[in-house]
């Protein structure tokens, strides 16, 4: 059998989604590894005491380090971070997954919570970049829940 690996990734058509594939996993290695060390209470204390010195241990790119320092949760994913790793930093900051979900999708945490209680973000308009372009080229890919 043997599945063919297309050069153009089918999942790149999914809006607002950063699939943690082999390339992202390689690119984000040190960023994710930093996040992973926060599983250890002693490391959390060290990071808290001197964030900059702590981050120096990890040979990330300047951009990756900036994403961490700015707590740019979406940016971290774009430079190879994986949500299960970056969420360890969010836990360190005292944030919940609703906070991070809101920050990644440009919503307040209250709006994000309300959206979840209302049944979550809808699939319609969020399924395919291509479809969205064909339908409404002038609109952004991601539906703003307040428009619903």
């Amino acid at each position: 059998m043997g599945a063919e690996i297309p050069m153009e990734k089918d999942y790149d058509d999914i809006p607002g989604t950063y699939v943690f594939d082999t390339k992202r996993c390689k690119d984000g290695f040190h960023l994710n590894k930093f996040c992973k060390t926060l599983d250890d209470a002693a490391n959390r204390a060290l990071f808290k005491a001197d964030p900059s010195a702590y981050l120096d241990q990890f040979p990330m790119t300047t951009e990756q380090r900036a994403m961490i320092e700015q707590r740019d949760w979406l940016g971290m994913l774009q430079v190879g971070g994986n949500i299960y790793y970056t969420f360890k930093l969010a836990i360190f900051d005292g944030l919940t997954m609703q906070h991070v979900g809101g920050l990644m999708s440009d919503m307040t945490v209250d709006d994000f919570r309300a959206m979840m209680l209302d049944g979550g973000r809808k699939l319609e308009g969020n399924q395919s970049k291509k479809q969205n372009q064909e339908r409404k080229p002038e609109q952004s890919e991601i539906h703003n829940p307040s428009e619903r």
């Binding site: 058509d13 999914i14 209470a41 994913l77 609703q98 990644m104 440009d106 979840m116 979550g120 973000r121």
Partner: protein
């Protein structure tokens, strides 16, 4: 001989464990969920498994980016809860059944499913939350636990079909073990959800209901779902449902004893199915 007597499909959302640990089951947000779990808890008491094979994924806890395995079977005697950033959950250690898991490991590899093995590993909410869902808060879990980890974080995850077939091989392994044991298989994770990106919070109840409606009698249809089908339609983290297919593969002719579905729990749709093996 050992026998697979039941299967459970169960979401493993961390906030369920946190709510139970803080005694918040009667909080209005959590009450419908824990009320929905009550019949399953009664049911599992009657099923009374000696061993649970618990299929779950590690969330960058025991394993990290240095080495990523597709399938890992725990063959140890004891598994301690992992510190996921809040300190380890104060739940009992999972006590393994080393002899049965060694038998399963060898049987699976000889059956051409090349498992990695863990003699020692911590276990995170992926394993401990389903135990809380089904067994509440005992001083010790009422059965031995064999962890089976599936990579669902790093693309490409194993296909749903591969997981389904691994479930079948798991059944063969269990049925060739000489001791009389009642074994239940838990497939965990899901249901639909997306934690990451601008699309965070995506839920697709239609997808989830279709999955629940077909898992018992038409799992082969679900095994045809591709990676992009799951990621696009159920959310990028919805692909965890391949672990429910592994559980289903381990059952021959299940009857559905209970089903429960609740939206939302945190950023996720919480699902639960309880199957009894009729053969």
């Amino acid at each position: 001989m050992a026998k697979i007597v039941a299967g459970v499909g169960c979401s493993h959302i961390p906030s369920i464990g946190a709510a139970a640990d803080k005694g918040m089951e009667q909080d209005p947000y959590y009450k419908p969920l824990f009320d929905g779990y009550a019949p399953a808890r009664e049911w599992i008491k009657k099923v009374a498994p000696d061993v649970v094979i618990l299929i779950y994924n590690d969330h960058a806890s025991a394993f990290s980016v240095e080495l990523i395995n597709t399938f890992v079977l725990g063959v140890g005697d004891r598994y301690k809860p992992h510190d996921e950033g809040y300190g380890p959950r104060q739940v009992p250690d999972a006590i393994g059944h080393a002899d049965l898991s060694a038998h399963i490991l060898e049987s699976l590899i000889l059956d051409e499913f090349d498992m990695a093995l863990a003699n020692e590993m911590t276990v995170d909410h992926g394993l401990t939350v389903p135990l809380t869902v089904m067994f509440d808060k005992p001083d010790a879990w009422p059965c031995k636990i064999i962890p089976l980890c599936v990579n669902v974080i790093k693309y490409p995850q194993p296909t749903g079909n591969r997981c389904f077939n691994l479930g079948k091989a798991l059944r063969k392994a269990v049925e060739s073990y000489p001791e009389d044991l009642r074994v239940a298989v838990f497939g965990t994770g899901g249901m639909g959800h997306q934690l990451q990106g601008e699309r965070a919070g995506l839920l697709n109840q239609e997808f989830d209901q279709h999955f629940l409606d077909h898992l018992k009698d038409a799992p082969e249809e679900l095994t045809k779902l591709s990676h992009v089908d799951y990621m696009r339609d159920a959310g990028s983290e919805g692909i965890e449902l391949i672990m429910w297919l592994m559980m289903r593969g381990a059952l021959k002719a299940p009857s559905e004893a209970y089903r429960f579905y609740h939206v939302p729990m945190s950023n996720t749709a919480a699902g639960l199915v309880c199957y009894e093996e009729t053969e």
